[in-house]
Symmetry: C2
Subunit: 355 residues, 2 copies
């Protein structure tokens, strides 16, 4: 059994793979592969409907919000957000806490002014800034709730009266959130939601249509929402797999239940990192992410040997991002706690060998 700690695309439940595999051969009694059906059929419209319904149910999305399924990744959202929300000459507030936050604010500069209200860049993004001001005339405030590369996570929403936009790509569906605190949430699906090729946006309807810019149809939230996520040909299979995965999450008791598992998983791993004399965490303890656990070896020369040691135990995907070095164990919803125990055992065994 492989223990897949990959950062995204990432592990999904085995039952999802089985059902998805079956659907590629034959989908829902149609006699056809899901890859060859028309999206404009009752069978596939039901898939979109169920996916949207599950998102709304699992995240308790209130009235006044639309859930829309898109292509282009969170990276396209970096441009789509300011394209729709930031008028020329206006200023948006951005919190810079990592590589993805940096990319988001860079794209926004094409459309308007960007005010970086706080940044931990000079400290290699090892912490989340606190006590910063968000000017009340900001078009919106944007932050990245989980910094996938640096292993930090904001568990609370920074207080502000301006519309809040959040890149939740790597922690959406992992813990309970209050959608009413946001005007727009977006996420690439390929962590807790499904496979690569799909992007989710949750949009407060009233924030749209406020700026005077001609927006390409495909990049206009209103057009996509009015099109019911099928303004053009949607990423059929990615939506289907996401639906299966969200069904699985619901069957586990939903986000509140999975949050408990995620807390157990991350607490266990951080406990070992702190206890084990060979390893140490890289970021500020109060900002540690549950989804992406970043750590290094006290002795960097043991990094490669530990990677090999882990690989021999079928632990994969723990190599850290080049910006941080060391290791990054990504522990999304579908990663079983048994895999976390396997990693912990490996760390302990390795420490024994290198006392």
């Amino acid at each position: 059994m492989t223990h897949n700690f990959g950062a995204g695309p990432c592990i999904l439940p085995q039952e999802v793979f089985k059902q998805a595999s079956q659907a590629v051969l034959e989908f829902n009694g149609t006699g056809l592969s899901i890859l060859e059906i028309s999206h404009r059929t009752p069978e596939f419209e039901a898939v979109v409907d169920e996916t949207v319904r599950l998102v709304k149910e699992l995240l308790n999305v209130p009235e006044g919000y639309s859930v829309v399924l898109l292509q282009g990744g969170a990276s396209l959202q970096f441009a789509m957000v300011p394209m729709n929300l930031l008028a020329e000459g206006e200023t948006a507030a951005y919190l810079n806490t990592g590589v993805w936050a940096t990319k988001a604010l860079k794209e926004a500069k094409i459309f308007g002014n960007v005010n970086v209200v706080a940044s931990s860049k000079d400290d290699n993004f090892t912490f989340i800034p606190k006590d910063f001001e968000i000017p009340s005339d900001s078009a919106y405030f944007h932050y990245t709730s989980n910094n996938t590369i640096y292993g930090t996570e904001l568990m609370t929403v920074p207080e502000t009266s301006v519309p809040v936009v959040c890149d939740m790509s790597s922690d959406i569906f992992s813990r309970v959130i209050d959608v009413s605190q946001f005007s727009l949430i977006y996420a690439g699906a390929q962590k807790n939601m499904g496979p690569a090729g799909l992007t989710l946006a949750i949009v407060k309807d009233e924030i749209l249509g406020k700026i005077d810019r001609k927006i390409p149809s495909m990049l206009d939230y209103k057009v996509q929402i009015d099109g019911g996520s099928m303004y053009n040909t949607p990423p059929v299979f990615a939506i289907y797999v996401s639906m299966l995965n969200l069904r699985w999450l619901k069957s586990k008791g939903g986000v509140a239940e999975i949050e408990k598992e995620n807390i157990s998983k991350s607490e266990a791993l951080y406990k070992e990192i702190d206890r084990n004399p060979l390893f140490k965490g890289t970021c500020s303890i109060e900002d540690r992410s549950r989804m992406n656990v970043c750590f290094v070896m006290e002795n960097p020369e043991l990094e490669k040997p530990f990677l090999k040691f882990a690989e021999d135990r079928d632990i994969i995907g723990i190599k850290g991002h080049r910006s941080v070095g060391g290791f990054r164990a990504s522990m999304y919803n579908a990663l079983p706690i048994t895999s976390v125990h396997t990693l912990i055992d490996a760390m302990q065994e390795f420490a024994e060998k290198h006392r």
Copy 2:
């Protein structure tokens, strides 16, 4: 056996479905599903490389062109093309031959001026205009080689000295083309290339970087090309299925061989439409498409009965688009000639019953 005449997403070879289904369970000896692997691994980079290589080989792409895999559909290309190639105040020439051509020219107006050099809109797009002028100071000339909804196809490239851009979504890989006649070709994959969720662009490198516009990273051809189709997380599974499908096409002898089959298929069906007193074609005979065969019943009241008659024979996907009515039999590369014969037999039997 189902005879899938769907317009896209559409039928793909059975062997492709089998291999894709298997890869969802376990991919290439990794012990992992293709849905959970990281795109930044040698295993998946090899998939991207092979897909690009097959495109280049199958279409004889010359030096000086880049092949790039994108998200967003051909519909996003409608905006991405002028965003990259049409400066404010410049004029691009568009040929309007159908619904998709209309949408493409509409998006271009956001970025610059659009000159519709000819249009068959007033005739419900039943023919391809000939003998039109393309001003030599046009930034580019854009046309849609196969009009999926109206069943017309341009088999030759309109003559012009300006850069030629072509939406080849519904006939790429179906017949031999000379890529050197184009500056940019784009296509949603979900007809002859693969499943929904992937878009192909073939770009003459020298046309890029000529205009003075700040382009979002994800929408900049140069950024995507330099990123090797992995500037961000690519649509992994859609690329993999496309690779399998292009391998199949190569195994059939490539585009020249499949073109022969496509000619046989379409000639057989048009022959029946013309011969059969109950049916007639809808577009000008010289502009008939090989990929999408549009026809109606002389007596419209027999449409629903024929749809049912066909469905009882497992013929699906022939209902015409609402703009045209009647029927549209889409006959992409993977549709076997036996399915065409089944449709022809059904038409003949139905005519017998309704003499």
